[in-house]
């Protein structure tokens, strides 16, 4: 491994392999930092997500078939089939899922992201985010709230009822809001929220409040049905995490523009399906490099413990991949309390991430770390070389379907995924191994 790292390491000669990788990585950093994600619409998934047929179900993480899916993801699939009316009972839903009639695909393969189980079914309304700098689109569902929710594998009547309410009441209001505001600039909300103690992954309260601040006057002043406005305002007002999915879509729109740069060793996606953690690397296209997922370290709700926890799950690590989330924990020290940490621990963790990133994002600055920009563009080579594994803030789902969220904590992306990606880079770009074979 040390030899592969050396072979692929930066070189001051621009014509050499290391020189090409270095400039490709700078290109990726520029693309990531110059992205400008803006929400421009709210539409049903089937109308806007590419290749979304009436029997497609998208899930979080690298590709996985029904028979290998973890509990919460199966629960969420069952819930989605009930929600779509494709099954009338959990049993029936499960039979349908096994039958092979459902096409499962990773959200990431369709420019989409979903938290936890990450299920997107055809009728679900999704945020449409455009990266104005590059023109690419990204999608995510709206966040359902905390506790027993579909994304954590719960599928009881209340869960389905809430999803229906979101489709019929919340989505039209959001569509109206987006139209009235002529798009919502996500980058500036994220930048402000980072200065207000959010890391925009596990802590989204400031970002959600900023969103609410934009939304409330418009909705109150709208000609929408007043009971609908009341419901929506009350939902947003009671939901500290609403912005998460917007942050995720913003990060997805940001990173997709940095994909497929030849020679580039920058990570463009980190995602987990509850069984495996997978990463994608710019210079290697849409290949996944996977490793077994581990159980996050964290705090559990009363009555639950690590033995109830499902291994790491969800596409939300897209935030860390884009340089926020746990990567900017130094600016959101409240979050390290999940693992009993202190503000100093938070700063230390963030400082570590500079060791594995290409550069900084000067749009996202950390006030209590002398306004340094967020550590941005994870370099596979640096991860392997330093052994510093990217850190992720995450929710913890119950391993059995139907329970939902049991805690939250932090987790590291396993090293094996990066080693596999690094080998693949060497095979693709240094097949002859000119020096040090």
């Amino acid at each position: 491994m040390a030899r592969i790292v050396a072979q692929l390491s930066d070189d001051i000669d621009p014509a050499s392999l290391g020189g090409k990788i270095a400039s490709a990585n700078q290109e990726a950093l520029i693309r990531i930092t110059s992205a400008r994600p803006v929400v421009v619409d709210m539409l049903p998934a089937r109308k806007v997500i590419p290749g979304m047929s009436s029997n497609t179900i998208l899930h979080a993480g690298p590709p996985i078939e029904w028979d290998r899916m973890c509990g919460p993801m199966r629960g969420a699939v069952i819930g989605a089939l009930l929600y779509e009316g494709m099954a009338s009972s959990p049993d029936e839903a499960e039979k349908l899922a096994v039958s092979g009639e459902i096409e499962f695909a990773p959200c990431h393969s369709r420019n989409a992201v979903g938290p936890m189980a990450g299920i997107i079914s055809p009728s679900m309304p999704v945020w449409v985010v455009v990266n104005e700098t590059f023109g690419n689109l990204a999608f995510s569902t709206m966040n359902e709230g905390w506790g027993r929710t579909l994304r954590f594998g719960a599928y009881d009547d209340k869960v389905i009822e809430r999803l229906k309410w979101m489709e019929y009441r919340l989505a039209p209001a959001m569509k109206y809001l987006i139209e009235r505001l002529q798009g919502i600039d996500l980058k500036s909300i994220i930048a402000q929220a980072l200065q207000m103690g959010d890391e925009c992954h596990n802590r989204d309260i400031a970002a959600t409040n900023l969103f609410f601040k934009k939304a409330a006057p418009v909705l109150v002043d709208s000609d929408l049905d007043s009971s609908m406005v009341r419901e929506v305002i009350s939902f947003l007002g009671n939901h500290e995490h609403f912005f998460l999915n917007l942050a995720m879509a913003a990060c997805k729109a940001t990173l997709d523009a940095a994909e497929n740069i030849p020679y580039c060793s920058v990570v463009t996606a980190i995602a987990r399906n509850g069984v495996e953690v997978g990463i994608r690397v710019s210079g290697l296209g849409d290949r996944w490099f996977t490793e077994e997922a581990t159980i996050p370290q964290g705090l559990y709700f009363p009555g639950y413990s690590e033995s109830d926890a499902n291994p790491d799950i969800g596409d939300s690590a897209i935030t860390e991949t884009a340089g926020i989330g746990a990567f900017v924990m130094g600016t959101a020290p409240a979050i390290v309390q999940f693992v009993g940490g202190t503000p100093e621990d938070a700063v230390r963790l963030t400082r570590e991430m500079y060791e594995i990133t290409v550069g900084t994002n000067d749009s996202y600055r950390l006030p209590n770390m002398s306004f340094i920009g967020a550590p941005t563009a994870i370099d596979v080579r640096k991860v392997v070389e330093t052994g510093i594994l990217p850190i992720i803030n995450t929710g913890i789902a119950h391993k059995e379907p139907g329970h939902g969220l049991v805690g939250a904590g932090i987790v590291r992306v396993p090293r094996g995924a990066f080693e596999k990606a690094l080998r693949a880079l060497a095979e693709k770009y240094a097949p002859e191994g000119r020096v040090l074979t």
């Binding site: 030899r3 306004f371 640096k382 040090l436």
Partner: protein, 518 residues
């Protein structure tokens, strides 16, 4: 009056940070007013009232940042905008590391924190050393490769790459260098001057550098090459590149090359090169008795010989044919006393002593390739010299230049052998070595001498101390303490070996007189 505006789309910044930058911009020469703000409706009002409202400001949205200046001239306005951009690009303070010492997990971070650095010192387990060296070379750094256990294939590839890029790869297993006054690895605090050294031998270079210093000369640079550099496989890549550097270096007046005899084809290349240096060259190829008739090339038979020749040449004087004391005698001495045991920490010093002693007293056992091989290097036989810095002694243990414990254990065993009458040792001072060798050596030496006197046994402990008074351990202070303990301290390694030989032939009394003169 000129008003200029710059819009940075979707560039949120906290207002306090922006006010701070506004103040900086306002302070620029020729600027009347400046605003660096997010283009929110409220801020637009402020700019309008300040007379800083332009079309570009009007078009900007609340997520966009605007920089507007009013200035006397076009240039002043443009300059202020540039200034603002610079402040925006740079965090207010680069993030400072709160820990007192800086630790970096990879080379790139180290390079970032130390711009202008041009040498990487690499000391990691051998399996990683080649990879780290490659990284350093790719970053344009010369490499001082302290690690050993680097394969010959890797050494060749790395040295070829270094050569292609005009870089020097010193090593692997390179113990010593002194570059532009900076000591690397095991090295001594020596005066700077006109003598440049290239060597495959660490302690040999240290001995020469210290003697040069003691005799009034000075060192420009000293480059270690690694012990295999003059082998057929490597072909002297580093030696030739280092000679090239010294040939071009204006400060260097005299060049010394110290090594074991090279492979014949490589020797030819080296001789061709040193013949055309345009500066006098002293060749010290230990164990090589050939001479060369090339002009400006001087053959030294010992390290001391090399140092003295270099000093004379540095002064611009012509060395006489035999100005050198302590040269290798050709006459065999009659051995009357007991056995000699040499316990060395420096490989080259051990080798030189072995060669001298063999010429004087015949057969000497050792773990060096030149000696009669010991069946087990842990057990001496008759006259023996061991290099205790060689791999069989250092695996899993610190080097004897740093840790005296294993050498002292062996010392006790040798002293306990009644047939032993001379113990010969080197003491290497300088950076990287033990901070106070006398503290380790004085008690066992004085104890052994006392015990020998009590039993009327002829036991002599002969030392050579490599070092200078400027070294952290202080040469004179160390020598004084060691002499007080009863050791005989010779001025050079070669003379220590000769003294040992004479002691073996003549006994102690006669020699003490000679030693006391020095």
């Amino acid at each position: 009056m000129i008003i200029k505006a710059l819009v940075k789309p979707a560039y949120y910044q906290d207002s306090v940070a922006l006010m701070w930058i506004s103040r900086r911009v306002h302070a620029c020469a020729g600027v009347h007013k400046a605003a660096v703000m997010m283009a929110t409706p409220q801020n637009k009002d402020i700019m309008r009232e300040a007379g800083l409202f332009t079309e570009a400001v009007a078009r900007a949205g609340p997520g966009d940042m605007v920089i507007v200046v009013s200035a006397e001239t076009e240039e002043a306005a443009a300059g202020a905008l540039r200034e603002a951009e610079q402040w925006l690009a740079k965090p207010v303070g680069e993030e400072k590391n709160s820990t007192t010492s800086s630790q970096y997990r990879h080379l790139a971070a180290g390079i970032r924190s130390l711009p202008g650095a041009d040498v990487a010192v690499i000391s990691v387990p051998g399996v990683y050393a080649a990879a780290e060296s490659l990284k350093a070379l790719k970053n344009g750094l010369h490499v001082f490769l302290f690690s050993d256990n680097v394969s010959l294939e890797d050494e060749i590839q790395l040295k070829r790459l270094a050569h292609q890029r005009g870089l020097l790869l010193m090593g692997p297993d390179c113990g010593t260098a002194f570059i532009g006054g900076v000591p690397l690895g095991f090295a001594n605090a020596v005066r700077r001057g006109g003598i440049g050294i290239v060597g495959a031998s660490g302690t040999g270079m240290q001995e020469i550098m210290c003697l040069v210093d003691r005799w009034g000369g000075g060192i420009s640079h000293a480059f270690g090459t690694g012990s295999r550099d003059l082998s057929m496989g490597v072909g002297g890549i580093t030696t030739l590149d280092a000679l090239e550097i010294l040939a071009r270096d204006e400060q260097t007046k005299v060049v010394v090359l110290v090594s074991k005899p090279p492979a014949p084809q490589v020797a030819e290349k080296i001789l061709r090169r040193v013949g055309g240096m345009g500066k006098p060259v002293v060749l010290c190829l230990l164990g090589n008795n050939n001479t060369t008739s090339r002009r400006g090339v001087y053959m030294a038979r010992t390290l001391e010989d090399a140092a003295r020749l270099a000093v004379v040449l540095e002064r611009g004087e012509a060395p006489g044919t035999d100005t050198v004391e302590g040269s290798v005698p050709t006459l065999s001495l009659d051995i009357t006393g007991g056995y000699l045991r040499g316990l060395f920490s420096g490989g080259t010093l051990a080798e030189e002593a072995l060669l001298i002693l063999r010429a004087c007293i015949g057969r000497v056992y050792s773990n060096l390739p030149e000696g009669e091989t010991l069946a087990d290097p842990n057990f001496s036989k008759e006259n023996t010299i061991v290099d205790m810095g060689s791999d069989e002694f250092t695996v899993g243990r610190p080097h004897p230049m740093i840790d005296f414990s294993y050498r002292l254990e062996r010392f006790q065993r040798e002293v306990a052998d009644p047939r032993v009458s001379v113990i010969l040792m080197d003491v290497v001072l300088g950076f990287g070595s033990h901070p106070d060798p006398a503290a380790e050596l004085v008690p066992p030496i004085s104890e052994a001498i006392k015990e020998a006197r009590r039993t009327n046994r002829d036991l002599n402990i002969v030392l050579n101390v490599v070092g200078t008074d400027a070294d952290p351990q202080d040469y004179t202070a160390q020598v004084t303490r060691l002499k007080t303990a009863g050791a005989l301290v010779a001025p050079t390694n070669a003379q220590a070996a000769l003294m040992a030989a004479k002691l073996l032939s003549s006994g102690r009394g006669k020699l003490e007189l000679e030693v006391n003169k020095q």
